[in-house]
């Protein structure tokens, strides 16, 4: 997943507000959290920004992957409390002596980990919402106080 | 040139109760830079319920002056995103909220950090800077 700064560096940085956000930085945050898409930035669609636009699109492509699994983390809302890390039944099953009892994950099989104060999701294919016996699980969403995780 | 009729209208004042709380995003900003823009933005604000704001004729984003015997500050008004019955406004604990806290503790040494009465009115002034709060009166 790209960082906000990577996206911001590719934007026109004119703060023209045409996208509805007050700054290009805010637009970069919105891009990252999938609240906006590149088409909503009129200047970047102009010919001279073609290279930047292509780069932005490729950076945001893994999103297609995230959409396939549907899980989105909004890092700007996350407090890093780790409730999802501990409440996720996959994390409990895959790391019963670490995440399962409230501690830091002790292996790489968990879905949620907290890096620099914000949660990061990986191993998303392990999520109970996918595969043959999928269930509509809300275990990571219910314990989140800020709505930082959603499935789309 | 238009006439600013606002200045001919009486600026109504209302009595409000304020309670303070903690916010992790503000605490993060404090750890990083207590003189920074982020800390100011997350501290120099008061949250009110939609109904309270409507009753007083305020709208989100207005600058408001909060005044009592202990001090006077200008902060930004925001609509509480929480479910609120109204009647109480909220501020994150900070030097801004502390400017309104009484030092009179009945000799017990614990001020009423969470039970503040103040008057609120629209303000033309800019939001109080942290530099202003360091000027010891």
């Amino acid at each position: 997943m790209p960082t906000v700064m990577e996206l911001y560096q590719l934007l026109p940085k004119t703060n023209c507000k045409k996208c509805g956000e007050s700054t290009c930085m805010a637009f970069a945050v919105a891009l990252l959290s999938r609240k906006k898409n590149i088409q909503e930035c009129p200047p970047v669609l102009e010919g001279k920004f073609k290279e930047q636009k292509d780069k932005l699109e490729s950076l945001l492509l893994p999103a297609a992957g995230a959409e396939e699994t549907g899980l989105i983390v909004h890092p700007e809302l996350c407090t890093g409390c780790g409730n999802c890390v501990v409440a996720c039944p996959v994390d409990v099953a895959n790391d019963p002596k670490g995440a399962g009892i409230g501690g830091a994950p002790t292996n790489d099989k968990v879905i949620f980990r907290v890096l620099d104060g914000k949660v990061v999701a990986s191993n998303i294919k392990e999520c109970r919402r996918f595969g043959m016996n999928r269930v509509l699980c809300y275990a990571c969403i219910d314990p989140c106080p800020t709505g930082a995780i959603e499935f789309v | 040139m238009g006439i600013d009729i606002g200045k001919f209208l009486k600026n109504p004042e209302y009595e409000i109760k304020i309670t303070t709380y903690r916010d992790i995003f503000q605490a993060e900003a404090l750890e990083r830079d207590r003189f920074g823009e982020e800390y100011r933005k997350l501290s120099a604000a008061i949250m009110m319920s939609k109904n309270d704001m409507k009753r007083m004729g305020f709208k989100p984003g207005d600058r408001v002056k909060l005044t009592n015997d202990n001090g006077s500050i200008v902060v930004e008004l925001r609509e509480s995103k929480r479910e609120e019955p109204g009647g109480v406004a909220f501020m994150v604990n900070s030097p801004w909220s502390n400017a309104l806290v009484s030092g009179d503790t009945g000799g017990r040494g614990i001020p009423e950090f969470k039970n503040i009465s103040a008057m609120i009115s629209l303000a033309k002034e800019e939001v109080t800077t942290i530099e202003r709060l360091i000027i010891v009166r």
């Binding site: 409730n83 501990v86 409230g102 501690g103 830091a104 | 993060e28 030097p95 030092g103 503790t105 040494g109």
Partner: protein, 404 residues
């Protein structure tokens, strides 16, 4: 990668992995948003100074010692962000100077911690909570924002020895608060909203309900009393919302606890080692704060930092790891303009800006080691993880003693 203890709050999380590159923090794993910011450090490091002019650290320490020596009634204040080792030295320094010593608990959780240390409340460890607790009451406490990993590491979400089925089945969590806090959002079904200052009234109603009397109160109190009565192992996490509200009669909470034989009381502490200071001073004097040494320790509410400043009864102030100009009522800090202030902190603070002497120190837990007391009383080691040239709080205290 190294493992460190987070000093962002009094949970003292010991499972923080930090990647260091070129002696700087590159990545912080497992810490919450606030903890990660604490470990990464502030942008404005404090520089040593005397009378607002840059000085070397030895000159600053010497000048500080001189100020304290010449003062008739000096106060040493702060301590919640210092290691136990520095606190013990600080208490020694106060004795040596016949000074007043007080800490943030004086206007925070001191009232409840004192009662814990005097064994007026039943209490337990956070591990006991994880392994056994089935009813959790967050009262005037928004743990999610103040002790962000409390619910995930210990109280609500983890599986414990006797709580193996997950939180929905095994635990009931309720929030009593004036505001729909983040913690209240998580405990949706069991949020009890009270008016500001309404805690005492609810305590009395709960005591009635627990004794089988009909309380004159909203009937939801019966539901709450029912949950509490059924607890095998309950805990009341008492936040400063509750403490401030019952500050005139804190023993009312002792009376409620007496009616709840299966419950533990745990004051929710913010500063990482506030409880450490309370325990260290208690061992020495029998009190948790507000002490003046006059050959023997004398406890008086007039020695509370708030009262001392309001009454203008001190003539020099040493501040360590605290920012009174930021955290005390604006109306009483004017006295700080009239007396010499010595500020010891890793970072520039509001107080350091007006201080006569500033002495920079290492960030404890990151740049210096030692030990600290977690909010439940367990002693936790803090390994320092980054090499640096800053003096630790403890070394500065030793320097002050030597300069005297």
């Amino acid at each position: 990668m190294v493992t460190c203890t987070c000093t962002g709050c009094a949970l003292l999380c010991e499972d923080i992995d930090v990647i260091i590159e070129n002696n700087r923090v590159k990545e912080v794993k497992n810490a919450c948003r606030r903890g990660a910011a604490r470990i990464r450090g502030c942008v404005n490091r404090l520089e040593p100074s005397v009378n607002k002019k840059q000085a070397d650290i030895d000159t600053s320490i010497k000048k500080a010692a001189e100020i304290l020596k010449n003062a008739r009634s000096p106060m040493l204040f702060g301590w919640g962000n210092s290691t136990c080792e520095a606190q013990v030295k600080g208490i020694e320094l106060a004795k040596r100077l016949n000074a007043i010593i007080d800490d943030n608990s004086s206007f925070c959780q001191g009232l409840l911690i004192e009662r814990i240390l005097k064994k007026k409340f039943r209490t337990c460890s956070l591990e006991d909570i994880r392994n056994r607790a089935d009813v959790l009451i967050y009262w005037g406490s928004d743990a999610q924002d103040s002790q962000p990993r409390h619910l995930s590491r210990f109280s609500y979400f983890p599986r414990g020895e006797h709580r193996q089925h997950g939180y929905e089945e095994d635990r009931t969590a309720a929030v009593i608060d004036v505001r729909e806090s983040s913690t209240a959002k998580i405990c949706k079904g069991h949020f009890y909203r009270i008016p500001t200052g309404g805690d005492r009234e609810l305590i009395l109603a709960l005591m009635d309900a627990l004794s089988g009397k009909v309380p004159k109160y909203d009937k939801r109190v019966l539901e709450l009393a029912g949950i509490m009565k059924k607890a095998e192992c309950g805990a009341i996490f008492a936040g400063i919302g509750l403490t401030y509200s019952i500050k005139d009669d804190p023993d009312i909470l002792v009376a409620l606890a007496d009616k709840l034989p299966n419950f533990n009381i745990m004051p929710m502490v913010g500063h990482y080692n506030m409880r450490g200071f309370n325990e260290n001073l208690f061992k020495e004097t029998g009190f948790v704060n507000r002490i003046r040494f006059e050959g023997r320790p004398v406890h008086n509410d007039g020695y509370a930092v708030v009262e001392a400043l309001r009454q203008k009864s001190i003539d020099a102030l040493l501040v360590i790891g605290s920012d009174p100009l930021s955290s005390l009522p604006g109306s009483i800090v004017s006295h700080l303009a009239d007396i010499p202030v010595i500020c010891i902190d890793p970072c520039v603070t509001l107080t350091s800006r007006i201080a006569a002497v500033t002495i920079p120190c290492a960030v404890s837990g990151v740049e210096s080691g030692g030990s600290a007391v977690r909010m439940d009383g367990r002693v936790v080691e803090l390994p320092g993880i980054i090499e640096n040239n800053h003096l630790s709080d403890q070394e500065i205290m030793t320097g002050l003693m030597e300069a005297l």
